[in-house]
Amino acid sequence: MEKEIGKICAEGFTFFGKTNRLISHELKNILAIISETMGLLDELAELSENGMKLTPARLRSMSGSLIEEVERANAVIRCMNTFAHSVDEFIREVDLNEAVALTIQLIKLNPIGKAVKIEFLENGSHMIYTSPFFLENLLYHAFYFALSAAAAQKHIRVSLFADSNNAGVEISGIAPGGFKSFPTPPAELLVKTLGAEILPDSSSGKFYVVLPQKIPEGPAEALLAE
């Protein structure tokens, strides 16, 4: 058990670090846009003092894009804050809908999430009792794999399903024969920790991440044991 706890902790730290890296990269990109826009505004103002025409439309376009970037930064920070609160209570009631929405926001910060479209077809709350942090970690691996193995349309669709025993995530848009490399060893570790299952349906380019309504006793619960 100790070895399993060590492995799952290492995977969790890796995920936490990776996510922080993605967020800081996105914020630096936003700051770079704001910096270039402000710099250009300043230079255009100087040129207008020397007689060059600076139209209100140009000014509005630039101030508009500054507002957009501030809103973009705010969305990223909100996402960072929600993610950081994933470890407040290590195991608790989790809305799968919210966990999927958050993880999709995170994967969209990865360069691959900008190259391939990922769409979440939301259909209401599905509450399960699990570890929100390790759930987001597993979903991140699943979405990363899906984006890497996307079919030619480059469009991954994500939706939820639930019955009395299980809830889960359906991920479609995978290229034929694309299932050979998933689950990866870290994803397999998370599957075991959460008591989940990965069910591929290669004929329709889909796979399912099936989650129990309640996390089984195991390394995640043992992390909390005194």
Binding site: R21, S24, H25, E26, K28, N29, L31, A32, I33, I34, S35, E36, T37, G39, L40, E43, L47, S65, E69, P111, I112, K114, A115
Partner: protein, 117 residues
């Protein structure tokens, strides 16, 4: 001096190009690998300023593709990633690597130095 700027953030790269034009450089820009390669095939650039992380290809891979089309072109990398290891790796592939956000004077200085080499 003719520059090609490549970054997937359109607002960033277009404004940077405009500011460089105000300083007397001829600066074209691209937001995709395909557009960047098309421009390099059609025009001869002295220096390419490349983002290290692009959605469909790394800046280093793009550099290798551009070098085959335009031997002798100089490269400057720009990045929002800050690990020392990444930074050192990228620096070995180019004249220099500048971390976003940066002051335009820092980029202009590196462009002028690269051109003199």
């Amino acid at each position: 001096m003719k520059l090609l700027l490549v970054d997937d953030e359109e607002k960033f790269v277009s404004r940077l190009a405009e500011r460089l034009e105000l300083r007397g450089f001829q600066a074209d820009w691209a937001t995709t690998i395909e557009d960047a390669l098309a421009r390099v095939s059609a025009e001869k650039y002295d220096i390419a300023v490349l983002d290290v992380k692009m959605p469909s290809m790394s800046g280093i891979d793009l550099k290798n593709r551009i070098e085959k089309i335009t031997p002798g072109i100089k490269f400057i990398f720009i990045t929002g990633h800050g690990s020392e290891k990444d930074y050192d790796t990228v620096c070995q592939e180019a004249v220099c690597c500048i971390i976003k956000p940066f002051k335009i004077e820092a980029l202009v200085e590196q462009i002028e130095q690269a051109f003199k080499r």
